[in-house]
Amino acid sequence: MAQPNTQKESWGTQIGVILAVTGSAVGLGNFLRFPGLAAQYEGGAFMIPYFVALLVLGVPLAWAEWAMGRLGGSRGFNSTPGIYRAIWPNRASPYIGVLGMIVPVVIYMYYVLIESWCLAYAYYFLDGSMAELGKKAALPGGGFNKQIYIDFFNSFTGSLENGALTAAGGWAPLAFLAVCFAINFWLIYRGLSKGIEKFCLWAMPALIVCAALVLVRVLTLPNVTEGLGFMWNPRTENVGFVQSLMNPEMWLAATGQIFFSLSVGFGIIITYASYLKKDDDIALSSLTSCAGNEFCEVALGGMITIPAAFLFLGAAQVTAASGSAFNLGFNTLPMVFESMPLGRAAGFLFFFLLFLAAVTSSISMLQPAIALLEEGLGLNRRSSATLLGFVTLMGTGFLFYFSKNSVALDTFDFWIGTFCIYLLALFQTLLFGWVLGIDRGMAEIDRGAKVRVPRVVGYLLKYVSPAYLSIIFLSWFYKQATVQEGNRFVAIFKDPTVAMAVVFIALVAGLFLLLIGQSVRRWNQHREAQT
């Protein structure tokens, strides 16, 4: 009887683990948000705070989150408020965990909207609409009329006017959003299963291969070195290099992007880590996830979108802070696909695979809140998912209606996707370094580890990371206090859409604070019953 081919099986399992670990981190942030932000802050200058944040904050804090999550799980808690309470038995700690609720839930509200744009663009490549657009945009002497693509995107997303998507009677944006929402909640109701994992295991390499092919096309465009120079030259158009590095908003944005991209300071890692066994590896898993994410972000996402955007849209359009950071890819990539052989197939494949990568990210965003509702209020998964479905539908609906210039989306993305993630990350570094302590914290990281994490990481988390975060935060606050233009606080009082978006975020936070309060009462009753 023939022996089974255990060598092949072993290789397949190993590759599968690498793809699963990488696929968990890869999503819209790599191919859309990062290029948009890097372009806004003129590429080369942005990469310095980006890499500093990656090494000093992103990777160490990812390890810390996995460690604290697994520790909290061993003490019977899976939600961020519960885990914080287990590590720091203080009255305030579960309520600080509200950040671990509103960050993933509010980000989900706009993430699923952008996911629907990916699905729509994939569909439009498949049904030939993009090819028709390409014919309309083609210029006699070669090249494209970029305004055709920009107008198409603005029309589809309702950028021209609030309520544009509901007033015009067009069904398409709403239909794609409804399909995305339905797919997300169908998967959330079922819970992630081996089927989803196996499905992602071919989608991830397919996305990387597709992105690599698009990269080859971009790198063979005429004058591509000018586009690459825009991305990588350590200079800016308007101010000197050193002066450009003194912009605290850029440091805040770069740090926020690292956190967003690695899912650190999100509340997601700490929740999922709580389900791990004591001797499961977190060191190599986390490191591989971060490395795979950065490969997709810097080597693929950044190299594709920004040079192409510079060449097709021009520097002025690229650096103009118009709308959300996510918009750049949708304005640029269709022109790249139009200019390449089999562009229709490549465009469909790229946006569809991006949609799949986004789905695996978005369904994980609701697990933190589900965990709180289950362990704090005693609800089952279906009831928790139903309640969350209602809350997130309100938020996504708000963004769908208030679509003008993507102001509402950008407001959510800044206050939650940058500011609150920042606060949560700062709290977690302090929790790990000063409450749990670096000896216990590093021992937790080392347990079951397949690589040895350098001891210096503990000292980074205790001393360097909080100082780094605090300095940038205070610098940003100081700049906000002294300038009017681009002032996020002034915008709340000047722009009604911004004000409504901030009020909505506050209402969601209020709701979760009530739920956390109820959960704390329940946990206290349970503890008293046991003693």
Binding site: D279, T360, Q367
Partner: protein, 49 residues
């Protein structure tokens, strides 16, 4: 593209590629890594109901 730009680009892209390659090598050569490594996609939250 300036010389500085080429240096920054090659260091950045080369760095993340080398880092990812090293991680892949570690996974492939570390005994038992696959049984103990996990990600959000494959972690069982044990709450199907």
């Amino acid at each position: 593209m300036t010389l500085g730009g080429w240096v920054v680009m090659l260091l950045s892209v080369g760095g993340v590629t080398a880092w990812f390659s090293w991680c892949v090598y570690q996974v492939l050569h570390e005994p038992g890594a696959t049984r103990k490594m996990h990600s959000q996609i494959d972690i069982d939250t044990r709450d199907r109901g």
